[in-house]
Structures are given as structure tokens and as C-alpha cells.
């Protein structure tokens, strides 16, 4: 190879970056990076918030099964991710689940256990499969996924707990209005992605 060719290759290598599904944040790998992932990626924060509002508005006996279904689906999704299964449609499914969660939260009606559990399963699995870690090494990637698992669960539990505490009187109306906003935003984002 000529000197100019070698220099060209070197410059090309210098100018390339990793292709990322989401904007990169400082230190966004490893456990802490994964932990912050559901908070820092707007679509994920919206999805977990919508699911949290819906769970928090349910009667107390229906909250735990929904959270358990969400956690199980997250774990299964991350397991699939470790086996290099990452479907391109996960983001679309996550937005569709967010629309449903937001709209059901706006309605503020009790959701039966089976459909509610199914929705939690779909949301959890889609969230996991839409969270490919950017770490190059397998060990770092797995730790990042573990962080994302914990972050998503903590955020869900926090939003659900806060909603359950606030879901009385005029504050319940605020929660319902927030649910309608989440559904509207997710529907628009879903339509934009499908239109492209």
C-alpha cells in the first residue's frame, strides 16, 4: 500500500465513530450508564412513566402482578439481547404499548389482571429489546443491561408508588391528564416513525 493510501486509511479510522441508537452520554456504559438509560432516553422514560401511571392507578392487589410481569419480561428481553436477538421493531412496539398505557391511565378504569399483565409483558420486553448496550466487550454490555434492568424497575416502582399516593381528589385528575399527554406524544412519535 502506498504512503498516501495508508494515510487515507488512518484518517478514515480517526474520523469514524460508533453508530448509536441514542445520543451518547458521558459514561453511559457500565452499570451506572445502564441505570440511567431509562431516564435519559426520552422514549423509554415516557414508556416507563406511562406504565407506572397505569400501575399506580390500579387497585393495590393488581399492582404487584403487573410489576412482576414487567420485571419478568425485562429479564427475558435482556436474556434474548444477550443471545444477540434485537428486532428492529422493538421501538415501534414500545411506543404502541406507551399509547395504550397512557390512554388507559387517562381513562382511569381498573384493568383486568390478564390484559394488564399482557400489556406489562409487552412493554417490558419491548423496552429491553430496544436497549442495545453500546459497550464493545460482552462483560461491559451485560453489566450495562443489568443496570438498565434495575433502572427501569426502580423508575416504574417510583412512578407507580407516587401515582398511588397522589391518585386521590384533584391530584387524580392531574395524573389522568398526564396519561393523556403521554398517550398523545407516543402516538405522534409512533406515526412519525411509521411515516418515515
Amino acid at each position: 500500500m502506498s504512503r498516501a493510501g495508508a494515510l487515507t486509511c488512518w484518517l478514515l479510522m480517526l474520523s469514524c465513530h460508533v453508530a448509536l441508537a441514542h445520543p451518547a452520554y458521558e459514561g453511559a456504559t457500565g452499570f451506572c450508564g445502564g441505570l440511567l438509560h431509562p431516564l435519559l432516553v426520552p422514549a423509554h422514560a415516557l414508556a416507563v412513566s406511562g406504565a407506572g401511571l397505569l400501575v399506580g392507578l390500579q387497585p393495590a392487589r393488581r399492582r404487584l402482578p403487573a410489576v412482576a410481569a414487567f420485571a419478568a419480561a425485562l429479564a427475558l428481553g435482556f436474556g434474548a439481547m444477550m443471545l444477540a436477538f434485537a428486532p428492529q421493531t422493538a421501538g415501534l412496539v414500545l411506543l404502541a404499548a406507551t399509547v395504550l398505557c397512557g390512554a388507559l391511565a387517562a381513562l382511569a378504569r381498573p384493568v383486568p389482571v390478564v390484559p394488564g399483565g399482557a400489556l406489562a409483558l409487552v412493554a417490558g420486553a419491548a423496552l429491553a429489546l430496544d436497549s442495545p448496550p453500546s459497550g464493545i466487550s460482552v462483560a461491559v454490555a451485560n453489566i450495562t443491561l443489568l443496570g438498565t434492568f434495575c433502572g427501569a424497575l426502580v423508575l416504574l416502582a417510583a412512578v407507580a408508588g407516587l401515582t398511588a399516593k397522589l391518585a386521590h381528589g384533584w391530584r387524580r385528575l392531574g395524573v389522568r391528564i398526564l396519561g393523556s399527554w403521554i398517550a398523545a406524544v407516543a402516538l405522534m412519535a409512533l406515526a412519525a416513525r411509521l411515516a418515515r
Binding site: 487515507t8 480517526l14 474520523s15 453508530a19 389522568r176 399527554w181 398517550a183 398523545a184 405522534m188
Partner: protein, 195 residues
Amino acid sequence: MRSLRSGLLVLVLALVPDAPLLAHAGDGAGGFLGGLAHPVLGPDHVAAMVAVGLWGAFLGAPAIYVLPIVFPLVMALGGVAGMAGLPLPGTEAAIAVSAVVLGAMVALAARPPIWLAAAVVGAFAVFHGYAHGAELPAGGDALAYSLGFVAATGLLHLAGIGLGLAVRWPVGRLGVRGAGAAIACAGIVFLWRLA
């Protein structure tokens, strides 16, 4: 000659911007701030949104929360139609008419059944959403943009509700009805400008 070509190639490659390849665009015209500004910078949108809040407050429960819940949900459906490029003629005129009708409802202290009030608000929400959706900048971050304009719409509703709470007092009631009349007049001006 060959070394000159190689040198030029190296120079061109060195000048290639090395921005990272991201699936999501950052903020800008199509980001959160763009979405937030869109309803706020359109006086016809602002008038209609504030009128929705005023009317909800005027009607009291359950309209005070049903209308702000119905509006964004139906508005999003209109936004989907706008993004999909479905034809919806007379959008700008319908937005101006929404200010006239909703302002008049407040000015006349109209008290229709809640389903009718929700249907009226929902029908106009389609046109507002269509305008927002159709004007989503190409290549923009749709989620951030939607988040911006839904938040702006909701905050304008809340502003209307806040002002509308003055109906508890006789003077406040007159003031709210006067605000409704002003919004209806502004809607007539918007319509006149379109003609």
C-alpha cells in the same frame, strides 16, 4: 500527478466532518423547543387553547378535566393524519373558527351536556393536531417535538383553567365571559385575515 491526486483525496477525507451517527436528532426546529414554540407562537392556537381551559372552568366538574384529557388525545389523531399527509381542507379556517366558537361558548355561558362539549372540543382538536403534525420539520425528532407541543397545549389549557377559576366571584364571572368574547372577536379577525 498521482501524488497530487492522493494528496487531494487525503485532504478531502480530512475535511469530512466527523460527527457521530445518531438515530435521533438533537434539539432545534424539530426538537422539544420547536414543538413548544409551535402552539405558543400561533395566536390562533393560543386563543383556542385558552378558550378550552376557560370553558372547562366555566362548566365545572367533570368538564374541567374531561376537556383537557380529550383535547390532546384527539389532537394526536389529527397530528397522525397531518404526518401521513392525508388531505384535510380548510385547516387554518377551522382553527380560526375554533377560536370563534369556543370563545362564544364562554361569552354566552353555554352549558351543553358534557358529551356535546367534548365532541365540539374534540372536533376542533383534530384541526389543531393536523396543523402541528403537518408542520413537523423533516428529519426532526418527532418524540421531542410532540412532547413540546403537547406540553405547550396542556399549559395553555391550564392557563385558561387558572383564569377561569375566577368564575367563583360575580366580577370574575363577568371577566371570564369578557375574555371569551375577546377570544371570539380575535377568531373573527383570524378568519378575516384568511379571506
